[in-house]
C-alpha cells in the first residue's frame, strides 16, 4: 500500500534514483565477489569501500536536505550527528575485540588499558550487545537534536544564528572528544576493529555486505524523507521555510514541526555515521570538525536543495571529484571546493537537479 502510494508520487528522476541505487546495491557486491580480478566487470575491493563511503555521505546529505531544503534550517553541525552515530558503532566494535586487543584485556579496550584505567566507564556499558549499540546509534544523535532543537526553536533562534549555534555545538563536541578523560579514545579515536556481528570487518564479503546495507539505508532514508515531505506535514514544513511567521499566525505550532524534522534528520545522519565507521575502520574527533559539516552543506547545494535526489547526487559527485583531484592535483582541490561554494551559490542556487531536473520533478520542494 504505502509503497504503491509513494511510487505513485515519484517523479522521473526519483524513480531513476531508486532504480540506480537498488541496482548498485545488488550489482556492486556481485561484481566484486563473483567476477574474477582483471575482468572488465570486476569492481576492486578498494572501490567497494569507496562507494560504500559515498553511500553514507549521500545519506548524510539527504538528512541535511530534509532540514535545510524543506524547512530552512541550515545546520552547520550535522557532522556531529554523523560522528555520534559513528562513535556508537565504534564502541560496539571496540567491545567485540575482547581479548584480541594488543593488551588482551577482555573487558577494557586497548586505549583504556594504556591510560591505566581499571574499570569500564558507565558510558560503555552494554555496548557489547549489538542491539543496544544500534539503538544508541539512533538515540544519541536524536536526543542531542531534540535537546538542541527544543531550546533553539522555542526561543525562535532562526537563520544564521541557528547555523552558528550548530557549528559551535560540533566544535565543542570536537574539543570534548579530543580529551582523553571523556573515555572515547581521545585524539586517536576508536580503531583496530576486528569483527561485526561475528563477521570479520576486513573480509571482502563483509565489506560487500556493508556496501549493500549502506545502499539500502540510503534507499530507506530516501523513502522516509520522501514520505515526510510529500505528506501534509511536509507541506507545513515548506510553509515554515518560506514564511515562518505567517505559518505561525495561521495556527501551526512551528517549533513542533521543526523539532520533529530536525530529530528525524539527526537520526538519519547517525545511521549514516554508523554504517560509515566499519567501512573506513576508524572514527576520531576530526569527524566533528566544523569544516566537515559545512562540506556536507555544499554537497546538498551542488545537487540541489529541496530535491532529496539532488542531495545524494551532489554528495557522490563532489566526493568523486575530491577522490580524483586529491590524488591527481592535491594542491588544486581546496581551490576547486572553494570555487564550488562560490559558483554554486552565485550561479546555481537551485543546484543541478533543481535547475535541470525541474521539469521532470513534481515541483514540490524547489523554491
Amino acid at each position: 500500500m504505502i509503497v504503491q502510494r509513494l511510487a505513485g508520487r515519484l517523479g522521473l528522476s526519483e524513480l531513476a534514483f531508486v532504480a540506480i541505487v537498488a541496482g548498485l546495491a545488488v550489482l556492486v557486491p556481485l561484481a566484486n565477489l563473483t567476477m574474477p580480478e582483471g575482468s572488465l566487470l570486476h569492481v576492486s575491493n578498494a572501490s567497494v569501500v569507496l562507494f560504500g563511503k559515498w553511500m553514507c555521505y549521500a545519506l548524510l546529505a539527504l538528512s541535511l536536505d530534509l532540514v535545510w531544503g524543506y524547512c530552512g534550517i541550515l545546520s552547520l553541525g550535522h557532522g556531529a550527528f554523523f560522528a555520534l552515530g559513528g562513535y556508537a558503532m565504534g564502541m560496539y566494535l571496540m567491545r567485540t575485540i575482547g581479548t584480541r586487543g594488543v593488551y588482551g584485556n577482555a573487558l577494557l579496550p586497548d586505549f583504556m588499558v594504556f591510560l591505566n584505567w581499571k574499570e569500564l566507564p558507565f558510558t560503555w556499558y552494554f555496548f557489547d550487545w549489538f542491539g543496544y549499540a544500534a539503538l544508541m546509534v539512533m538515540l544519541v544523535p536524536g536526543i542531542l537534536a531534540f535537546v538542541l532543537g527544543w531550546f533553539a526553536f522555542r526561543s525562535r533562534v532562526t537563520g544564521v544564528y541557528l547555523s552558528i549555534i550548530t557549528q559551535a555545538v560540533t566544535y565543542a563536541l570536537q574539543l570534548a572528544f579530543f580529551r582523553n578523560d571523556m573515555g572515547f579514545g581521545g585524539n586517536n579515536g576508536l580503531t583496530d576493529f576486528k569483527d561485526i556481528l561475528g563477521f570479520q570487518v576486513q573480509a571482502q564479503s563483509t565489506r560487500a555486505a556493508l556496501f549493500a546495507l549502506s545502499a539500502l539505508a540510503l534507499l530507506g532514508g530516501f523513502a522516509a524523507a520522501k514520505a515526510i515531505v510529500s505528506s501534509k506535514l511536509g507541506l507545513v514544513l515548506v510553509a515554515i521555510r518560506d514564511a515562518e511567521t505567517r505559518t505561525r499566525f495561521i495556527g501551526y505550532r512551528v517549533e513542533h514541526y521543526k523539532l520533529f524534522v530536525f530529530v528525524v534528520s539527526a537520526v538519519m545522519a547517525g545511521i549514516a555515521g554508523a554504517l560509515y565507521v566499519p567501512q573506513v575502520g576508524i572514527i576520531n574527533p576530526s569527524e566533528f570538525s566544523p569544516a566537515n559539516s559545512i562540506e556536507a552543506v555544499i554537497w546538498v547545494a551542488v545537487g540541489g536543495r529541496g530535491t532529496l535526489v539532488g542531495a545524494a547526487l551532489g554528495a557522490v559527485l563532489v566526493n568523486a571529484a575530491k577522490t580524483w583531484l586529491t590524488a591527481a592535483l592535491p594542491t588544486l582541490w581546496l581551490f576547486v571546493l572553494g570555487a564550488l561554494f562560490i559558483l554554486v551559490t552565485l550561479f546555481l542556487p537551485r543546484g543541478i537537479v533543481g535547475t535541470f531536473g525541474a521539469k521532470f520533478l513534481g515541483r514540490r520542494g524547489t523554491k
Binding site: I165, V169, A172, I294, I342
Partner: protein, 551 residues
C-alpha cells in the same frame, strides 16, 4: 714582600684548626675591613699553592680561603675554577687563569702573561665537593660585587640555597649596603636563615618572620612553613599567622593575575571579533572568510619583516609600524574585492552568503599555502614586545600588555570613525534606512563596499597583533572564526560596545575557569554557556531595539 699593615692575615695552618663556626667570622672580618691588596699578597700565594697540588680537598680549602681573603682577583679565580679555566704550571707550581679568549693571566695579580700558552698548563680539576665550595664562595664573593644586580642575585641565591654558613657574610654585606633594593634582598635572605637558626634570640627570629611576611611570595611561604615544630610557640604562631597572610595575598594576586590574563585573552578575542562586529553586526553579512583576513594581516607582517631583514635590518624594530597600514590595505582591499564580486549579489540571503564566503576562505587558505608553504612562519617580536615586567608581584609579558593597549586604540579609532567622520555618518544612515539614504544622495553600494573593506581591514591589523602571540600558518584564521562569531552574537549584533563587553567577559571567564576545569573543558563550558545564553536571549546582551532590530 711588604709587611702587613692591617687586617687579618689568614694563616692557613691555623685556620684548619678553627672550629667551623668561627671560620665565617673570619670571612666576615676580612670582608668588613677590606684589607689592602698588598697586605695579602704573601698569604694569597700560600692559598694559591693549594690549587697547584691538584688534590680535591686542597682545592676545596683553597676556594674557601681565597673567598675569605678579599683578594681583588678572588671572584675571577673562583669563577675560572668553576668553568674549568684555572690552571697551574707543573714547573713552578704557579697558578694562572685562562681567559675565555685563551689569554693566560696570573691568578695572583690578574696581569696578562705573554710567554705561556694554555696548552703548557694543567687545568685544576674539580669534583662535587669542590663544586659546592665554589657555589658557596661565589655567593659570598658576589655579595661584594660592585654591580648591584649581581649583589642582589647573590642574596637571592643564598636564600634559595639556604646556606646557613653565609649568614655572617650577609650580615656584613647588609651593614655596607647602600642600595635599598639590594639591602632588602639581603635582609630577606638573612631572615630566611635566621628563622630556623635556634641560636638566635627569639626577638630576632620573630623579626625575621616579619621580614619574610613582607616579602610575601611563594618562596617566603615555603620558608615560613619550614619553621620546625619544636620551635618556641611564639615563633610558630607568628610564622603560621604570617604564612596565612602570605597565602591570602598570593591567592588575591593569583586572582588579579587571572583577571589580567583574561583581559589579555579578551582583547585578543575583541581584536579578532571587532571587524566581524562591523561586517556581521552592522551590515548583517556572515563573513566566514573573516578569519582569513586576520591571517592575511599576519602574513603581511611576515612579508614586511622578511623585506626589512634583507634590505634594512636597522628598521626591524619598526616592522610592526610598517605592517599595520599595509595589513589594513591588503585585507581591506581583498575584502572590497570579495564584496564587489560576490557578496553584493547575495544581499538579503544570509545563508548563501555564509556558504560563498566559506568558499572564499578555503580558496584564500590554499592560496596562502601555495605561496608561503603550509608550515608555520616565523614572525619576530620587536624589542619592545619581548620580555616581561613585574607589577606588584604579577609577571606580565610586554607583548600581551601592548596588545591590550593596541586593542583599546583600535576600538577607539573605530568608534571615532563611525561617530565623527562623514563616512561614518553615511554608513549609519545606510544601516538605518537604505532607501532613504539612497534617495538623499548617498551611494549606498559604495558605502557597502567601504564598510566591508573597513571590517576586513580591521581584521587585517588584528592579524598584525596576533602574529606576535600566535603561530602564523594558513590555518591561523580558522582558530578564531567560531570564537569571533560567539563574541559578536553574545554581545548583541550591531552593538560595538556589546562586542567589547562580550569579548572581555568571555576572556576573563575563560581564564578564571581554566584553573578549575582545565583549558579545554573551560572552553567547552564557555561554548555551552553561550549556546544556552543565545537560546535565552537570541539577540545577545545588548540587543538592538526598535524596528531596525527585526530583520
Amino acid at each position: 714582600m711588604p709587611s702587613p699593615s692591617g687586617g687579618i692575615r689568614p694563616m692557613p695552618e691555623l685556620k684548619r684548626l678553627l672550629p667551623r663556626f668561627i671560620a665565617p667570622l673570619l670571612v666576615l672580618a676580612a670582608l668588613v675591613l677590606g684589607p689592602a691588596p698588598g697586605a695579602l699578597a704573601q698569604s694569597v700565594g700560600d692559598t694559591l699553592a693549594k690549587f697547584a697540588t691538584d688534590r680535591f680537598p686542597d682545592t676545596a680549602r683553597g676556594v674557601e680561603e681565597i673567598a675569605r681573603s678579599g683578594h681583588p682577583t678572588a671572584l675571577e679565580i673562583v669563577e675560572a675554577l668553576g668553568e674549568n679555566r684555572l690552571a697551574y704550571s707543573q714547573a713552578d707550581r704557579s697558578v694562572y687563569v685562562i681567559g675565555k679568549d685563551d689569554q693566560v693571566r696570573s691568578a695572583e695579580t690578574g696581569a696578562p702573561v705573554a710567554d705561556i700558552a694554555p696548552n703548557q698548563l694543567r687545568r685544576v680539576r674539580i669534583n662535587n665537593p669542590v663544586r659546592s665550595a665554589i657555589a658557596a664562595a661565589l655567593g659570598a664573593l658576589r655579595l661584594n660585587s660592585a654591580d648591584p644586580v649581581q649583589r642582589r642575585a647573590a642574596a637571592e641565591a643564598i636564600m634559595q640555597a639556604h646556606d646557613a654558613d653565609q649568614a655572617p657574610a650577609l650580615e656584613a654585606a647588609l651593614g655596607r649596603e647602600k642600595d635599598a633594593r639590594v639591602a632588602t634582598a639581603i635582609s630577606q635572605a638573612l631572615a630566611a636563615l635566621r628563622i630556623v637558626d635556634t641560636k638566635q634570640p627569639e626577638s630576632v627570629r620573630l623579626a625575621a618572620i616579619d621580614t619574610l611576611a613582607e616579602r610575601g611570595d611563594r618562596e617566603a611561604l615555603v620558608m615560613l612553613r619550614n619553621v620546625p615544630a619544636e620551635a618556641p610557640a611564639a615563633i610558630r604562631q607568628r610564622a603560621e599567622r604570617a604564612a596565612a597572610a602570605v597565602e591570602r595575598r598570593l591567592s588575591i594576586l593569583g586572582g588579579v593575575q587571572n583577571v589580567f590574563f583574561g583581559l589579555s585573552l579578551g582583547s585578543v578575542l575583541l581584536l579578532a571579533a571587532i571587524g566581524l562586529a562591523i561586517t556581521f553586526g552592522v551590515m548583517g553579512i556572515i563573513n566566514m572568510a573573516h578569519g582569513e583576513m586576520v591571517m592575511l594581516g599576519a602574513y603581511t607582517t611576515f612579508a614586511v619583516q622578511e623585506f626589512l631583514r634583507t634590505s634594512a635590518p636597522g628598521l626591524f624594530d619598526w616592522s610592526l609600524l610598517f605592517a599595520l597600514p599595509l595589513a589594513f590595505l591588503v585585507a581591506g582591499g581583498v575584502g572590497i574585492g570579495i564584496e564587489r564580486t560576490i557578496i553584493r549579489f547575495l544581499y538579503g540571503r544570509p545563508l548563501e552568503t555564509l556558504l560563498a564566503t566559506w568558499g572564499v576562505s578555503l580558496a584564500l587558505q590554499q592560496a596562502v599555502r601555495t605561496i608561503f608553504g603550509s608550515s608555520n612562519r616565523e614572525v619576530g617580536n620587536p624589542a619592545f614586545m619581548t620580555g616581561s615586567f613585574d607589577l606588584f608581584g604579577i609577571s606580565l609579558t610586554w607583548s600581551r600588555m601592548w596588545i591590550v593597549v593596541f586593542t583599546i586604540a583600535v576600538f577607539a579609532f573605530l568608534l571615532f570613525v563611525i561617530r565623527y567622520t562623514d563616512y561614518g555618518l553615511r554608513m549609519r544612515a545606510v544601516v538605518q534606512n537604505r532607501a532613504m539614504a539612497g534617495s538623499v544622495g548617498i551611494r549606498t553600494n559604495w558605502i557597502d563596499a567601504l564598510t566591508f573593506g573597513l571590517g576586513s581591514g580591521i581584521a587585517g591589523i588584528a592579524g598584525v597583533a596576533l602574529s606576535q602571540i600566535d603561530n602564523v600558518s594558513p590555518n591561523l584564521g580558522q582558530g578564531y572564526i567560531i570564537d569571533s562569531f560567539m563574541v559578536v552574537v553574545f554581545g548583541g549584533v550591531g552593538s560595538l560596545w556589546g562586542t567589547l563587553v562580550a569579548a572581555l567577559t568571555l576572556g576573563i571567564a575563560n581564564k578564571l575557569l581554566e584553573p578549575l576545569a582545565g583549558a579545554v573543558l573551560g572552553k567547552i563550558l564557555i561554548l555551552v554557556f553561550i549556546i544556552l545564553f543565545i537560546q535565552k536571549r537570541p539577540r545577545g546582551l545588548f540587543a538592538q531595539k526598535g524596528r531596525t532590530a527585526e530583520s
